[in-house]
Symmetry: C2
Subunit: 564 residues, 2 copies
């Protein structure tokens, strides 16, 4: 493990984003003051295109090795997977430190924990933030919280006060100027916190000039589409959109409609929210999916998962015609009340294409505002910076270029360069009583891949092999060689997948077999001691070149030589 010289009980605050500052997802930030560590969020990132087979990517926690006993608490800002998704793996790895969050968030962490290992959620040491005015003292930290807008219930901002500085971190946030049934949130009270203050601001919207859709506009559009729907209404949204589902249930109750919830995680989340008293399901509004046919089509609303084109989710099954109860009709209305997660663009486009074939009434954010973003635009970032007036500004949670653009906004508002830090994953920002700096040394931050049961066991080599296999397939040559003569016995076996269609390539295979025999007999058939490594290298290179000449493809060539 790297030694961090500077890392003693020195009365400084160190802030280390272990993930989430070079990508969207796997958000996790370490706050370290002397021997006290508080962690914010443990998120996961969905794999990029060049990570085939990977389930997801989690933060690298090598920095915390040997310091597990110093971890006083893990705070979760909200229940989205890019903030809680890595919790089951990392909490276990870090010795099960206490966790803190709003009730819905903690319940969602618990459920994820159960999915990971049955009965393991009981071991979690939980502290519920029941009241936003609550203060929690742990070690040298005083934690407090503030209300923010985001697309999931119970999202909170976190304030971490230490003797030398106070960090303000809203987690993911947006600004709702026209909220339904409540006041708009103000942030100016955060300017009164103990100084120096550090604003750590999620900055995904730092290049977004667009005026945000208000909740009111979105709801009005949604209500209008549901009211005018000639047939059933199918609304695809995120399973964590509890607030939206609540609003749909209330609309249905008011207008004499029935609602079907379709999607395991969605039902589960509504169940949790109902238990917590966050949602009151109007009596008789929710019906079982097999009862939908008992009502006239225009009285039925189906809320389902699968807006990202997830293969096994309800919407995909409906579109593929595999859904047990729902066959789409031309006059059904389909609404995507969701955004497209980066990386899913083409999958979602294909899903929409298929939906447009089946239904004449497909609506999504490209054509009508039926969704609100969970992330603020430039205007909001300006407002936040202006209201909170922090001494330091640290843009976080987004690709590097979003953070740089967010920093530019701060410069425009008068911040000097020494008060703004744009961290990478693993950057260590040190705040003393006197000033602040980014240290030269960095915490390890390379990807930790999760694939099946393996956490961190897949490295660059395995990934590169997968990419190569995907590109041009593989070509295994099995040659049985007579130990006495060094010559090939019989005809070499060839096993190939993903390279050419074998049935239509008989000539190529016959030529390759002859070539194999030729190479082996030449390199090994001289009667003396044989260098088998050389024989294999020759096979790999020469057969590789031969296949490339014939096809301009480069399958992975794997020679197997068996002496008998």
């Amino acid at each position: 493990m790297t030694q961090y010289k500077d890392n003693k009980m020195d009365g400084n605050l160190r802030i280390i984003p272990l993930g989430g500052c070079e990508e969207v997802g796997r958000n996790m930030t370490v706050f370290e003051y002397g021997q006290d560590i508080v962690i914010l969020d443990m998120g996961l990132q969905f794999p990029e295109e060049d990570m085939p087979g990977i389930d997801y990517v989690i933060p690298n926690t090598e920095y915390l090795k040997g310091k597990e006993k110093n971890i006083r608490a893990v705070v979760f800002s909200h229940g989205h997977l890019d903030h809680i998704g890595a919790a089951p793996i990392l909490l276990k790895k870090l010795g099960n430190p206490p966790i803190i969050g709003r009730p819905l968030t903690i319940e969602m962490v618990k459920h994820r924990q159960e999915d990971f290992e049955r009965n393991s959620s009981k071991k979690l040491k939980t502290t519920y933030i029941k009241d936003l005015q609550q203060k929690i003292n742990i070690g040298s930290f005083t934690l407090s919280f503030f209300q923010i807008d985001h697309t999931i219930m119970d999202a909170v901002g976190v304030i971490l006060q230490t003797p030398v500085a106070t960090a303000i971190h809203p987690g993911d946030w947006s600004i709702e100027k026209n909220p339904v049934n409540r006041e708009a949130i103000k942030y100016s009270h955060l300017a009164e916190l103990k100084r120096p203050t550090i604003l750590m601001l999620e900055s995904l919207g730092s290049t977004n000039f667009k005026k945000p859709v208000t909740e009111e506009e979105m709801l009005n559009n949604l209500y209008k589409l549901m009211s005018q729907a000639p047939g059933r209404t199918i609304i695809a949204t995120f399973s964590s959109q509890i607030q939206r589902i609540k609003q749909i249930l209330e609309f249905a109750a008011k207008t004499g409609r029935k609602v079907v919830l379709d999607g395991f995680s969605m039902k589960l989340n509504i169940e949790i929210a109902t238990k917590l008293g966050y949602v009151k399901i109007p009596k008789g509004v929710i019906i079982a999916i097999d009862k939908a046919r008992d009502y006239s089509d225009n009285k039925v609303i189906i809320v389902c998962t699968g807006a990202q084109g997830e293969e096994m989710a309800a919407l995909s099954r409906i579109v593929a015609g595999n859904h047990k109860f729902i066959k789409l009709k031309k006059e059904d209305t389909v609404i995507f009340s969701s955004s497209v997660i980066p990386g899913n663009e083409r999958t979602v486009q294909r899903l929409k294409d298929n939906l447009y074939r089946l239904s004449d009434n497909v609506y999504h954010s490209d054509i009508i505002d039926v969704h609100i973003s969970g992330h603020s635009n430039i205007e909001g970032i300006k407002q936040m910076i202006g209201d909170i007036k922090a001494d330091y500004f640290v843009p976080v949670y987004g690709n590097h270029y979003f953070l740089k653009e967010s920093a530019k906004i701060a410069y425009d508002l008068g911040y000097s360069k020494d008060k703004v830090f744009v961290p990478d994953n693993g950057s260590i920002i040190k705040f003393t009583g006197m000033g602040a700096e980014i240290l030269k040394e960095k915490a390890p931050s390379n990807y930790v891949f999760v694939d099946g049961l393996g956490v961190g066991d897949i490295g660059e080599i395995v990934l590169r092999d997968r990419q190569m296999l995907a590109e041009d397939g593989m070509f295994v040559i099995v040659a049985v060689i007579d130990r006495q003569t060094g010559k090939v016995k019989g005809s070499p076996d060839i096993i190939s997948r993903g390279f050419v269609y074998l049935r239509e390539s008989k000539d190529l295979l016959a030529q390759t077999r002859r070539k194999v025999i030729e190479i082996v007999n030449k390199t090994a058939g001289h009667g003396g001691a044989v260098n088998w490594i050389y024989v294999k290298d020759e096979l790999r290179n020469k057969i590789g070149d031969f296949l490339h000449t014939k096809t301009e493809r480069r399958p992975m060539v794997l020679p197997v030589v068996i002496e008998v």
Copy 2:
């Protein structure tokens, strides 16, 4: 080959989009009147995520099998790859029919042809459209042309007049309301064509409400950024953006700057355009790349390829630090004068992240308008429909849902359902003197994959294998079996790639070897006749299950059994 009953010399016009109506790319449309066939465009599509290793996808031309001699001409609307990219393969396949296009377009087709097969472009039978007023009579068709706006020089709209109907096809198009140094284009003269008329309209912008950036705004931004650049200006754009490069050259000449062109295809295109007289390079403005250091940085403009993050292109090499002559400096200005091609979102985002680390002045369309789109928005589609007043409306060239949304625009403007056809790839739309319909039968339109030298030889099976290999890798088991006893000799060989990191999985491999011996001895070691297919199946299934239990991954298991 499917027989098309209806397909005689029957005096009807058939329009068959063979590609480009369910995706972006591989645009190709067949116009058939009696025994005369005219083809518009032969484009390629870049591969989707689930097409690993595929170079590109081209239209399926099975419909034309046996009719090659009827093909009177292939017209190319403009020189973008999604309109000419499949030409070398398809022209050869279809017996080298005559080709028609504007000079730049034909020259670009020729160059693509040369890349494909040296000296083959000489065989092309070319007709240059030198004058837009030109009319070309071929068979029952009269071809004429009209000016349109698009992001490549020499893009034209095509009119195909037959005795029963007149098709109007602008190819790809946009509407430039504020062109620099010329008049805005009008389309109302197309309302005067011989009726019935059919408007076939590229409809990529059918969900786009945004006000288009004008050429003037874009140029002003570009000029401003170049004028204010503290260091060198690096402009990344498409190699086919000849007009833009021309404007940059003129700006440089006027302001005493020097221009470096970096990118093989870009230089080639400028060379072609210069030969045609489309670009006049001001004397002394272009300098060799190794001479750039002789000028002060703020007098140097580098125009390069690679705005899509293409690995081998100039910009990628600059960012990776592999460029022989250009090392990026903090004060350099980098401008993306380009859009992001769908599917490249994440690659481009990564490129931008890396650029933002190296330069403090990165500009792209998210933050300032430095590019204009080649595709019209909704407003433009309305204007086009309104100006041309065609009898029939056929939205084309885009994903299905774009075509459906474009059709909705036509309905809103008063078209009745029987006058609008939304085709799929392979749809056959028949126009008689009396009316029009989409036939029930369809032309084959499934993907034709190009991979290396193979055209169409990669099918679903090979692709599925590649996907499987990419997902969890492969696992080859080689067991040598004693013919006498039916038992495994020695230790089975295991070759695995992309599954686990072998060095760290010794236990797993040892267990698997034992398991292999156990399965073989049980299924084959009974001394009687052995069913080797059964032995292999057992190995495949049981080892597959065993590995899945241990890892929750499913590599492709390939057993090789060798009797000795």
